[in-house]
Amino acid sequence: MSARRRKTVSAIAEGLCAVAVILALLPLAFILFYVVKQGASALNWAFFTSMPKPVGEPGGGMGNAIVGTLILIGLAALFAVPIGCICGIHLAEYRDSRFSSVVRFAADVLNGVPSIVIGIFAYGLAVLPVKRFSAMAGGFALGLLMIPVVVRTTEELVRLVPSGLREGALALGASRSRAVFTVIVPAALPGILTGILVATARVAGETAPLLFTSFNNRFWSTNIAQPIASLTVQVFTYAISPYDDWHRQAWAGAFLLVMIILVLSIVARLAVRRLEQMNRP
Protein backbone atom coordinates (compact mmCIF):
# COMPACT_ATOMS: atom_id res chain seq x y z
CA MET A 1 0.00 0.00 0.00
CA SER A 2 1.44 3.33 -0.99
CA ALA A 3 1.87 6.11 1.51
CA ARG A 4 -0.67 8.20 -0.36
CA ARG A 5 -3.30 5.50 -0.21
CA ARG A 6 -2.58 4.83 3.47
CA LYS A 7 -3.13 8.48 4.24
CA THR A 8 -6.40 8.57 2.33
CA VAL A 9 -7.73 5.51 4.12
CA SER A 10 -6.72 6.99 7.46
CA ALA A 11 -8.44 10.28 6.63
CA ILE A 12 -11.65 8.48 5.66
CA ALA A 13 -11.60 6.44 8.88
CA GLU A 14 -11.08 9.58 10.92
CA GLY A 15 -13.93 11.28 9.12
CA LEU A 16 -16.27 8.36 9.83
CA CYS A 17 -15.34 8.45 13.50
CA ALA A 18 -16.09 12.15 13.66
CA VAL A 19 -19.47 11.63 12.03
CA ALA A 20 -20.31 8.85 14.49
CA VAL A 21 -19.37 11.07 17.43
CA ILE A 22 -21.55 13.88 16.12
CA LEU A 23 -24.45 11.50 15.54
CA ALA A 24 -24.15 10.26 19.11
CA LEU A 25 -23.91 13.73 20.61
CA LEU A 26 -26.60 15.34 18.47
CA PRO A 27 -29.61 13.85 20.26
CA LEU A 28 -28.09 14.80 23.61
CA ALA A 29 -27.55 18.39 22.50
CA PHE A 30 -31.00 18.51 21.00
CA ILE A 31 -32.69 17.17 24.15
CA LEU A 32 -30.79 19.63 26.33
CA PHE A 33 -31.61 22.52 24.05
CA TYR A 34 -35.29 21.63 23.78
CA VAL A 35 -35.75 20.98 27.49
CA VAL A 36 -34.06 24.27 28.37
CA LYS A 37 -36.07 26.18 25.78
CA GLN A 38 -39.40 24.81 26.98
CA GLY A 39 -38.65 24.77 30.67
CA ALA A 40 -36.69 27.96 31.12
CA SER A 41 -39.73 30.22 31.30
CA ALA A 42 -41.13 28.25 34.23
CA LEU A 43 -37.78 28.08 36.01
CA ASN A 44 -37.66 30.67 38.74
CA TRP A 45 -36.92 30.76 42.42
CA ALA A 46 -40.46 29.83 43.37
CA PHE A 47 -40.18 26.69 41.26
CA PHE A 48 -37.49 25.38 43.58
CA THR A 49 -39.07 26.46 46.85
CA SER A 50 -42.84 26.45 46.66
CA MET A 51 -45.46 23.72 46.71
CA PRO A 52 -47.73 22.84 43.80
CA LYS A 53 -50.78 25.11 43.60
CA PRO A 54 -54.33 23.69 43.38
CA VAL A 55 -55.64 22.92 39.90
CA GLY A 56 -56.21 25.98 37.76
CA GLU A 57 -54.27 28.38 39.96
CA PRO A 58 -51.10 29.50 38.13
CA GLY A 59 -47.64 29.51 39.75
CA GLY A 60 -46.35 27.19 42.41
CA GLY A 61 -43.37 24.90 42.12
CA MET A 62 -41.86 21.52 42.76
CA GLY A 63 -40.01 22.14 46.03
CA ASN A 64 -41.53 19.06 47.61
CA ALA A 65 -40.81 16.92 44.55
CA ILE A 66 -37.14 17.96 44.51
CA VAL A 67 -36.72 16.98 48.15
CA GLY A 68 -38.79 13.88 47.52
CA THR A 69 -36.55 12.73 44.69
CA LEU A 70 -33.45 13.28 46.83
CA ILE A 71 -35.00 11.26 49.66
CA LEU A 72 -35.97 8.48 47.27
CA ILE A 73 -32.55 8.12 45.72
CA GLY A 74 -31.02 8.36 49.19
CA LEU A 75 -33.18 5.48 50.39
CA ALA A 76 -32.43 3.50 47.25
CA ALA A 77 -28.68 3.96 47.70
CA LEU A 78 -28.91 3.10 51.38
CA PHE A 79 -30.55 -0.17 50.45
CA ALA A 80 -28.66 -1.04 47.28
CA VAL A 81 -25.08 0.07 47.93
CA PRO A 82 -24.21 -2.21 50.86
CA ILE A 83 -25.92 -5.23 49.31
CA GLY A 84 -24.56 -4.52 45.84
CA CYS A 85 -20.99 -3.92 47.02
CA ILE A 86 -20.87 -6.99 49.23
CA CYS A 87 -22.28 -9.17 46.46
CA GLY A 88 -19.84 -7.68 43.95
CA ILE A 89 -16.86 -8.25 46.21
CA HIS A 90 -18.00 -11.80 46.86
CA LEU A 91 -18.34 -12.48 43.13
CA ALA A 92 -14.85 -11.15 42.47
CA GLU A 93 -13.27 -13.07 45.35
CA TYR A 94 -15.01 -16.41 44.78
CA ARG A 95 -15.41 -16.10 41.07
CA ASP A 96 -15.63 -19.79 40.28
CA SER A 97 -17.91 -21.02 43.04
CA ARG A 98 -21.35 -22.36 42.18
CA PHE A 99 -22.99 -19.83 44.43
CA SER A 100 -21.22 -17.03 42.56
CA SER A 101 -22.48 -18.13 39.19
CA VAL A 102 -26.01 -18.25 40.58
CA VAL A 103 -25.68 -14.74 42.04
CA ARG A 104 -24.14 -13.43 38.82
CA PHE A 105 -26.97 -14.91 36.77
CA ALA A 106 -29.57 -13.47 39.15
CA ALA A 107 -27.99 -10.03 38.92
CA ASP A 108 -28.04 -10.17 35.13
CA VAL A 109 -31.68 -11.22 35.09
CA LEU A 110 -32.61 -8.51 37.58
CA ASN A 111 -30.78 -6.01 35.39
CA GLY A 112 -33.00 -6.96 32.47
CA VAL A 113 -36.33 -6.83 34.31
CA PRO A 114 -38.39 -3.84 33.10
CA SER A 115 -38.71 -1.19 35.76
CA ILE A 116 -42.49 -1.36 35.72
CA VAL A 117 -42.27 -5.00 36.77
CA ILE A 118 -39.93 -4.04 39.61
CA GLY A 119 -42.57 -1.48 40.59
CA ILE A 120 -45.32 -4.10 40.69
CA PHE A 121 -43.10 -6.37 42.73
CA ALA A 122 -42.36 -3.59 45.24
CA TYR A 123 -46.07 -2.77 45.30
CA GLY A 124 -46.93 -6.33 46.22
CA LEU A 125 -44.20 -6.55 48.83
CA ALA A 126 -44.11 -3.12 50.44
CA VAL A 127 -47.40 -1.40 49.68
CA LEU A 128 -50.16 -4.03 49.78
CA PRO A 129 -49.30 -5.50 53.20
CA VAL A 130 -49.43 -2.09 54.93
CA LYS A 131 -52.10 -0.72 52.60
CA ARG A 132 -50.23 2.53 52.11
CA PHE A 133 -47.98 4.04 49.46
CA SER A 134 -44.73 5.18 50.99
CA ALA A 135 -41.34 6.69 50.22
CA MET A 136 -39.85 3.52 51.65
CA ALA A 137 -41.59 1.39 49.04
CA GLY A 138 -40.35 3.77 46.33
CA GLY A 139 -36.80 3.64 47.65
CA PHE A 140 -37.02 -0.14 47.75
CA ALA A 141 -38.14 -0.30 44.12
CA LEU A 142 -35.37 2.05 42.97
CA GLY A 143 -32.87 0.12 45.09
CA LEU A 144 -33.83 -3.11 43.33
CA LEU A 145 -33.02 -1.40 40.04
CA MET A 146 -29.67 -0.19 41.38
CA ILE A 147 -28.45 -3.47 42.87
CA PRO A 148 -27.47 -5.30 39.66
CA VAL A 149 -25.55 -2.30 38.33
CA VAL A 150 -23.64 -1.89 41.59
CA VAL A 151 -22.97 -5.64 41.80
CA ARG A 152 -21.49 -5.94 38.34
CA THR A 153 -19.39 -2.76 38.43
CA THR A 154 -18.01 -3.66 41.86
CA GLU A 155 -17.15 -7.15 40.65
CA GLU A 156 -15.43 -5.88 37.52
CA LEU A 157 -13.35 -3.31 39.39
CA VAL A 158 -12.32 -5.55 42.25
CA ARG A 159 -11.18 -8.10 39.67
CA LEU A 160 -9.05 -5.50 37.94
CA VAL A 161 -6.91 -4.92 41.04
CA PRO A 162 -3.50 -6.47 40.29
CA SER A 163 -2.92 -9.74 42.12
CA GLY A 164 0.44 -8.41 43.34
CA LEU A 165 -1.39 -6.15 45.78
CA ARG A 166 -3.29 -9.04 47.28
CA GLU A 167 -0.08 -11.05 47.54
CA GLY A 168 1.70 -8.13 49.19
CA ALA A 169 -0.97 -7.91 51.86
CA LEU A 170 -1.10 -11.66 52.43
CA ALA A 171 2.69 -11.83 52.69
CA LEU A 172 2.55 -9.34 55.56
CA GLY A 173 0.25 -11.65 57.49
CA ALA A 174 -3.11 -10.27 56.47
CA SER A 175 -5.99 -12.70 56.38
CA ARG A 176 -7.88 -12.95 53.14
CA SER A 177 -10.76 -10.76 54.30
CA ARG A 178 -8.36 -8.24 55.79
CA ALA A 179 -6.48 -8.02 52.50
CA VAL A 180 -9.75 -7.50 50.66
CA PHE A 181 -10.99 -4.71 52.88
CA THR A 182 -7.73 -2.88 53.56
CA VAL A 183 -6.00 -3.12 50.18
CA ILE A 184 -8.11 -4.48 47.36
CA VAL A 185 -11.35 -2.60 47.91
CA PRO A 186 -9.59 0.73 48.58
CA ALA A 187 -7.63 0.25 45.36
CA ALA A 188 -10.86 -0.33 43.46
CA LEU A 189 -12.79 2.39 45.27
CA PRO A 190 -12.67 5.16 42.65
CA GLY A 191 -14.27 2.88 40.10
CA ILE A 192 -16.79 1.43 42.53
CA LEU A 193 -17.84 4.94 43.47
CA THR A 194 -18.36 5.88 39.84
CA GLY A 195 -20.47 2.77 39.41
CA ILE A 196 -22.61 3.76 42.39
CA LEU A 197 -23.11 7.28 41.11
CA VAL A 198 -23.93 6.10 37.61
CA ALA A 199 -26.47 3.68 39.06
CA THR A 200 -27.92 6.48 41.20
CA ALA A 201 -28.21 8.77 38.21
CA ARG A 202 -29.94 6.02 36.31
CA VAL A 203 -32.64 5.42 38.91
CA ALA A 204 -33.11 9.14 39.57
CA GLY A 205 -34.87 9.33 36.22
CA GLU A 206 -37.22 6.38 36.83
CA THR A 207 -40.96 7.01 36.85
CA ALA A 208 -42.70 3.70 36.34
CA PRO A 209 -41.63 1.96 39.54
CA LEU A 210 -42.66 5.00 41.59
CA LEU A 211 -46.20 5.24 40.25
CA PHE A 212 -47.50 2.60 42.61
CA THR A 213 -44.93 2.68 45.35
CA SER A 214 -44.11 6.19 46.50
CA PHE A 215 -47.09 7.51 44.49
CA ASN A 216 -47.24 11.29 44.76
CA ASN A 217 -47.91 13.91 47.36
CA ARG A 218 -49.14 17.45 46.81
CA PHE A 219 -47.90 18.52 50.19
CA TRP A 220 -44.60 18.92 51.89
CA SER A 221 -43.55 15.60 53.36
CA THR A 222 -40.31 14.05 54.47
CA ASN A 223 -41.94 11.15 56.26
CA ILE A 224 -40.65 7.99 54.63
CA ALA A 225 -43.70 6.01 55.78
CA GLN A 226 -45.98 8.30 53.77
CA PRO A 227 -46.43 8.83 50.04
CA ILE A 228 -43.89 11.30 48.71
CA ALA A 229 -43.63 13.53 45.67
CA SER A 230 -40.89 13.00 43.11
CA LEU A 231 -39.77 14.98 40.10
CA THR A 232 -40.42 12.20 37.64
CA VAL A 233 -43.96 11.43 38.77
CA GLN A 234 -44.70 15.15 39.02
CA VAL A 235 -43.46 15.71 35.48
CA PHE A 236 -45.57 12.80 34.31
CA THR A 237 -48.69 14.11 36.09
CA TYR A 238 -48.23 17.65 34.81
CA ALA A 239 -47.36 16.60 31.27
CA ILE A 240 -50.62 14.68 30.77
CA SER A 241 -52.72 17.45 32.34
CA PRO A 242 -54.68 19.90 30.17
CA TYR A 243 -53.16 23.05 31.68
CA ASP A 244 -50.52 25.17 29.90
CA ASP A 245 -48.93 26.33 33.13
CA TRP A 246 -48.47 22.72 34.25
CA HIS A 247 -46.97 21.84 30.89
CA ARG A 248 -44.36 24.56 31.37
CA GLN A 249 -43.65 23.27 34.86
CA ALA A 250 -43.32 19.74 33.50
CA TRP A 251 -40.60 21.00 31.14
CA ALA A 252 -38.89 22.79 33.98
CA GLY A 253 -39.04 19.60 36.04
CA ALA A 254 -37.53 17.65 33.16
CA PHE A 255 -34.79 20.25 32.88
CA LEU A 256 -34.07 19.92 36.58
CA LEU A 257 -33.89 16.13 36.31
CA VAL A 258 -31.34 16.38 33.55
CA MET A 259 -29.38 18.82 35.69
CA ILE A 260 -29.43 16.51 38.73
CA ILE A 261 -28.12 13.66 36.60
CA LEU A 262 -25.46 15.94 35.14
CA VAL A 263 -24.36 17.08 38.60
CA LEU A 264 -24.20 13.46 39.79
CA SER A 265 -22.00 12.60 36.82
CA ILE A 266 -19.72 15.56 37.48
CA VAL A 267 -19.47 14.70 41.17
CA ALA A 268 -18.58 11.17 40.14
CA ARG A 269 -15.77 12.43 37.91
CA LEU A 270 -14.38 14.76 40.57
CA ALA A 271 -14.54 12.13 43.29
CA VAL A 272 -12.75 9.68 41.06
CA ARG A 273 -10.05 12.18 40.23
CA ARG A 274 -9.45 12.94 43.90
CA LEU A 275 -9.20 9.29 44.80
CA GLU A 276 -7.01 8.54 41.85
CA GLN A 277 -4.55 11.16 42.96
CA MET A 278 -3.89 8.82 45.87
CA ASN A 279 -3.93 5.71 43.73
CA ARG A 280 -1.82 6.91 40.86
CA PRO A 281 0.97 9.43 40.86
Partner: protein
Protein backbone atom coordinates in the same frame (compact mmCIF):
# COMPACT_ATOMS: atom_id res chain seq x y z
CA UNK B 1 25.25 -27.92 86.08
CA UNK B 2 26.58 -28.99 82.78
CA UNK B 3 24.82 -31.12 80.26
CA UNK B 4 26.79 -33.05 77.75
CA UNK B 5 24.99 -33.72 74.53
CA UNK B 6 26.11 -36.70 72.59
CA UNK B 7 26.83 -35.60 69.06
CA UNK B 8 26.22 -37.88 66.10
CA UNK B 9 29.42 -39.73 65.47
CA UNK B 10 30.54 -37.94 62.36
CA UNK B 11 34.22 -37.13 62.24
CA UNK B 12 35.02 -33.42 62.60
CA UNK B 13 35.35 -31.55 59.37
CA UNK B 14 32.75 -33.52 57.49
CA UNK B 15 29.83 -31.84 55.83
CA UNK B 16 27.34 -32.81 58.52
CA UNK B 17 29.32 -31.17 61.27
CA UNK B 18 30.05 -27.98 59.31
CA UNK B 19 26.34 -27.73 58.77
CA UNK B 20 25.66 -27.74 62.50
CA UNK B 21 28.52 -25.39 63.31
CA UNK B 22 27.42 -22.74 60.86
CA UNK B 23 23.79 -22.73 61.91
CA UNK B 24 21.13 -25.38 62.22
CA UNK B 25 18.68 -25.95 59.40
CA UNK B 26 15.83 -23.47 59.69
CA UNK B 27 14.05 -24.65 56.59
CA UNK B 28 14.19 -28.24 55.41
CA UNK B 29 12.87 -29.16 52.03
CA UNK B 30 12.32 -32.79 51.14
CA UNK B 31 11.27 -34.21 47.76
CA UNK B 32 9.32 -31.11 46.95
CA UNK B 33 7.42 -31.13 43.66
CA UNK B 34 5.33 -28.31 42.31
CA UNK B 35 2.74 -28.24 39.53
CA UNK B 36 0.89 -25.50 37.73
CA UNK B 37 -2.07 -27.50 36.51
CA UNK B 38 -0.48 -30.51 34.87
CA UNK B 39 2.88 -28.81 34.22
CA UNK B 40 5.46 -29.83 36.77
CA UNK B 41 7.93 -27.00 37.39
CA UNK B 42 9.76 -28.26 40.48
CA UNK B 43 11.14 -31.77 40.69
CA UNK B 44 12.15 -33.40 43.96
CA UNK B 45 13.77 -30.37 45.56
CA UNK B 46 15.70 -31.42 48.65
CA UNK B 47 17.82 -28.96 50.60
CA UNK B 48 18.39 -27.52 54.08
CA UNK B 49 18.47 -23.79 54.50
CA UNK B 50 20.51 -22.84 57.57
CA UNK B 51 19.54 -20.34 60.24
CA UNK B 52 21.33 -16.99 60.43
CA UNK B 53 22.80 -17.32 57.00
CA UNK B 54 22.12 -16.06 53.55
CA UNK B 55 21.18 -18.64 50.96
CA UNK B 56 21.22 -17.57 47.33
CA UNK B 57 19.16 -19.21 44.61
CA UNK B 58 20.60 -18.84 41.14
CA UNK B 59 19.71 -20.28 37.77
CA UNK B 60 18.49 -19.37 34.32
CA UNK B 61 15.18 -17.62 33.80
CA UNK B 62 12.16 -19.87 34.16
CA UNK B 63 13.94 -22.56 36.15
CA UNK B 64 11.57 -22.28 39.10
CA UNK B 65 13.35 -19.99 41.58
CA UNK B 66 10.32 -17.78 42.12
CA UNK B 67 8.03 -20.79 42.36
CA UNK B 68 10.30 -22.32 44.97
CA UNK B 69 10.75 -19.22 47.09
CA UNK B 70 7.00 -18.59 47.01
CA UNK B 71 6.44 -22.11 48.28
CA UNK B 72 8.25 -21.27 51.51
CA UNK B 73 5.53 -18.88 52.65
CA UNK B 74 2.79 -20.73 50.78
CA UNK B 75 2.16 -17.74 48.56
CA UNK B 76 1.42 -20.16 45.74
CA UNK B 77 -1.72 -21.26 47.59
CA UNK B 78 -3.69 -18.51 45.97
CA UNK B 79 -2.88 -19.63 42.44
CA UNK B 80 -5.77 -21.75 41.24
CA UNK B 81 -4.80 -25.15 39.89
CA UNK B 82 -1.40 -25.02 41.58
CA UNK B 83 -0.39 -28.02 43.66
CA UNK B 84 2.54 -28.90 45.88
CA UNK B 85 3.87 -32.32 46.88
CA UNK B 86 6.53 -33.25 49.40
CA UNK B 87 7.42 -31.39 52.57
CA UNK B 88 8.88 -28.11 53.66
CA UNK B 89 9.51 -27.84 57.38
CA UNK B 90 10.35 -24.69 59.28
CA UNK B 91 11.78 -25.28 62.76
CA UNK B 92 10.78 -28.91 62.31
CA UNK B 93 7.10 -28.19 61.57
CA UNK B 94 5.68 -29.17 58.20
CA UNK B 95 4.16 -26.01 56.77
CA UNK B 96 2.08 -27.99 54.29
CA UNK B 97 0.54 -30.15 57.02
CA UNK B 98 -3.24 -29.89 57.17
CA UNK B 99 -4.40 -27.36 59.72
CA UNK B 100 -1.34 -25.11 59.35
CA UNK B 101 -2.14 -21.50 60.18
CA UNK B 102 -1.00 -19.89 56.94
CA UNK B 103 -1.56 -16.35 58.19
CA UNK B 104 0.69 -16.96 61.19
CA UNK B 105 3.24 -18.63 58.92
CA UNK B 106 3.41 -15.59 56.65
CA UNK B 107 3.94 -13.33 59.61
CA UNK B 108 7.09 -15.28 60.41
CA UNK B 109 8.20 -15.58 56.81
CA UNK B 110 8.45 -12.18 55.16
CA UNK B 111 8.71 -11.73 51.43
CA UNK B 112 9.98 -9.18 48.95
CA UNK B 113 8.45 -9.86 45.55
CA UNK B 114 10.16 -9.95 42.19
CA UNK B 115 7.76 -7.30 40.90
CA UNK B 116 7.55 -4.55 43.48
CA UNK B 117 3.99 -4.12 44.63
CA UNK B 118 3.49 -1.05 46.81
CA UNK B 119 -0.09 -0.52 47.95
CA UNK B 120 -1.90 2.50 46.53
CA UNK B 121 -1.55 4.20 49.90
CA UNK B 122 0.85 6.70 51.40
CA UNK B 123 4.49 5.78 51.95
CA UNK B 124 3.87 5.74 55.69
CA UNK B 125 0.79 3.53 55.44
CA UNK B 126 2.66 1.08 53.25
CA UNK B 127 5.35 0.50 55.84
CA UNK B 128 2.87 0.59 58.71
CA UNK B 129 0.54 -1.90 57.04
CA UNK B 130 1.95 -5.08 58.54
CA UNK B 131 2.36 -3.44 61.94
CA UNK B 132 -1.28 -2.40 61.99
CA UNK B 133 -2.32 -5.89 60.87
CA UNK B 134 -0.35 -7.16 63.85
CA UNK B 135 -2.40 -4.93 66.12
CA UNK B 136 -0.04 -2.01 66.71
CA UNK B 137 -2.05 1.20 67.00
CA UNK B 138 0.11 3.53 69.06
CA UNK B 139 1.02 6.44 66.79
CA UNK B 140 4.45 7.08 68.23
CA UNK B 141 5.50 3.52 68.16
CA UNK B 142 4.25 3.20 64.58
CA UNK B 143 6.31 6.23 63.56
CA UNK B 144 9.41 4.82 65.19
CA UNK B 145 9.04 1.46 63.48
CA UNK B 146 8.35 3.05 60.12
CA UNK B 147 11.37 5.31 60.40
CA UNK B 148 13.63 2.48 61.50
CA UNK B 149 12.50 0.24 58.65
CA UNK B 150 12.91 2.97 56.06
CA UNK B 151 16.40 3.74 57.34
CA UNK B 152 17.36 0.08 57.12
CA UNK B 153 16.04 -0.14 53.58
CA UNK B 154 18.14 2.92 52.64
CA UNK B 155 15.08 4.95 51.70
CA UNK B 156 14.59 7.27 54.66
CA UNK B 157 16.60 10.22 53.41
CA UNK B 158 14.69 10.29 50.15
CA UNK B 159 11.21 10.12 51.64
CA UNK B 160 11.38 11.55 55.13
CA UNK B 161 9.71 14.81 54.05
CA UNK B 162 6.97 13.17 52.04
CA UNK B 163 5.76 10.23 54.07
CA UNK B 164 2.15 11.12 53.30
CA UNK B 165 2.64 11.10 49.54
CA UNK B 166 1.39 8.21 47.47
CA UNK B 167 3.84 5.34 47.32
CA UNK B 168 3.07 5.04 43.63
CA UNK B 169 4.79 8.38 43.01
CA UNK B 170 8.13 6.77 43.91
CA UNK B 171 10.55 5.59 41.27
CA UNK B 172 10.87 1.88 40.52
CA UNK B 173 13.97 1.48 42.67
CA UNK B 174 12.42 3.46 45.51
CA UNK B 175 9.33 1.29 45.32
CA UNK B 176 11.50 -1.78 45.59
CA UNK B 177 13.19 -0.42 48.71
CA UNK B 178 9.78 0.52 50.10
CA UNK B 179 8.69 -3.08 49.72
CA UNK B 180 11.84 -4.16 51.55
CA UNK B 181 11.08 -1.68 54.35
CA UNK B 182 7.53 -2.96 54.51
CA UNK B 183 8.71 -6.53 54.93
CA UNK B 184 11.30 -5.57 57.55
CA UNK B 185 8.82 -3.58 59.61
CA UNK B 186 7.04 -6.68 60.86
CA UNK B 187 10.29 -8.29 61.94
CA UNK B 188 9.94 -11.76 60.40
CA UNK B 189 12.25 -14.65 61.28
CA UNK B 190 12.81 -15.59 57.68
CA UNK B 191 13.12 -13.15 54.83
CA UNK B 192 12.51 -14.31 51.27
CA UNK B 193 13.81 -11.88 48.67
CA UNK B 194 13.07 -12.41 45.01
CA UNK B 195 15.55 -10.28 43.07
CA UNK B 196 15.33 -7.42 45.56
CA UNK B 197 17.96 -5.37 43.75
CA UNK B 198 16.82 -5.79 40.16
CA UNK B 199 15.72 -2.15 39.83
CA UNK B 200 18.32 -0.56 42.09
CA UNK B 201 21.28 1.62 41.21
CA UNK B 202 24.74 0.57 42.45
CA UNK B 203 24.58 2.75 45.58
CA UNK B 204 21.20 1.42 46.68
CA UNK B 205 22.30 -2.11 45.79
CA UNK B 206 25.35 -1.76 48.02
CA UNK B 207 23.15 -0.50 50.84
CA UNK B 208 20.73 -3.40 50.44
CA UNK B 209 23.63 -5.85 50.41
CA UNK B 210 24.99 -4.29 53.58
CA UNK B 211 21.53 -4.59 55.09
CA UNK B 212 21.42 -8.27 54.19
CA UNK B 213 24.76 -8.77 55.92
CA UNK B 214 23.50 -7.00 58.99
CA UNK B 215 20.16 -8.84 59.06
CA UNK B 216 21.81 -12.20 58.84
CA UNK B 217 22.71 -12.07 62.52
CA UNK B 218 19.07 -12.49 63.42
CA UNK B 219 17.30 -13.75 60.35
CA UNK B 220 17.34 -16.55 57.88
CA UNK B 221 17.58 -15.04 54.43
CA UNK B 222 16.83 -16.61 51.08
CA UNK B 223 17.61 -14.45 48.09
CA UNK B 224 17.03 -15.01 44.39
CA UNK B 225 19.43 -13.17 42.16
CA UNK B 226 20.55 -13.11 38.57
CA UNK B 227 23.65 -11.22 39.53
CA UNK B 228 26.50 -13.68 40.12
CA UNK B 229 28.70 -11.11 41.84
CA UNK B 230 25.87 -10.31 44.17
CA UNK B 231 25.32 -13.97 45.01
CA UNK B 232 29.04 -14.32 45.64
CA UNK B 233 29.16 -11.19 47.80
CA UNK B 234 26.14 -11.66 50.05
CA UNK B 235 25.49 -15.35 50.40
CA UNK B 236 26.92 -18.11 52.53
CA UNK B 237 25.29 -20.91 50.60
CA UNK B 238 24.19 -21.08 46.99
CA UNK B 239 21.77 -23.38 45.24
CA UNK B 240 21.95 -23.65 41.48
CA UNK B 241 18.57 -24.41 39.90
CA UNK B 242 18.03 -25.69 36.44
CA UNK B 243 14.80 -26.85 34.79
CA UNK B 244 13.11 -27.21 38.15
CA UNK B 245 15.86 -29.24 39.81
CA UNK B 246 18.65 -28.37 42.18
CA UNK B 247 21.80 -29.14 40.24
CA UNK B 248 24.18 -28.22 43.01
CA UNK B 249 23.84 -26.81 46.49
CA UNK B 250 26.86 -25.98 48.52
CA UNK B 251 28.92 -23.24 50.19
CA UNK B 252 28.95 -20.20 47.99
CA UNK B 253 32.74 -20.42 47.76
CA UNK B 254 32.55 -23.94 46.45
CA UNK B 255 29.87 -23.09 43.92
CA UNK B 256 31.87 -20.23 42.50
CA UNK B 257 35.46 -21.44 42.89
CA UNK B 258 35.21 -25.16 42.72
CA UNK B 259 31.84 -26.48 41.57
CA UNK B 260 31.36 -30.21 41.26
CA UNK B 261 29.04 -30.04 38.28
CA UNK B 262 30.11 -28.92 34.86
CA UNK B 263 26.74 -27.19 34.38
CA UNK B 264 27.21 -25.09 37.49
CA UNK B 265 30.64 -24.02 36.34
CA UNK B 266 29.34 -23.07 32.91
CA UNK B 267 26.52 -21.06 34.43
CA UNK B 268 28.49 -19.14 37.03
CA UNK B 269 31.22 -18.31 34.58
CA UNK B 270 28.62 -17.01 32.16
CA UNK B 271 29.20 -19.60 29.47
CA UNK B 272 25.41 -20.01 29.13
CA UNK B 273 22.07 -18.80 30.55
Amino acid sequence: MTITIAMPSAPPGTAAVREIESGAAKISVRDFDFFYGSAQVLHGITLDIPDQQVTALIGPSGCGKTTFIRSINRMNDIIPEARAKGTITIDGRDIYAPGTDVVALRRRVGMVFQKSNPFPKSIFDNVAYGLRIGGLTDKRSLREHVEKSLIRAALWDEVKDRLDDSALALSGGQQQRLCIARALAVDPEILLMDEPASALDPTATTKIEELIWELKANYTIVIVTHNMQQAARVSDRTAFFMLGRVVEYSDTKTIFMNPKEKMTEDYVTGRFG
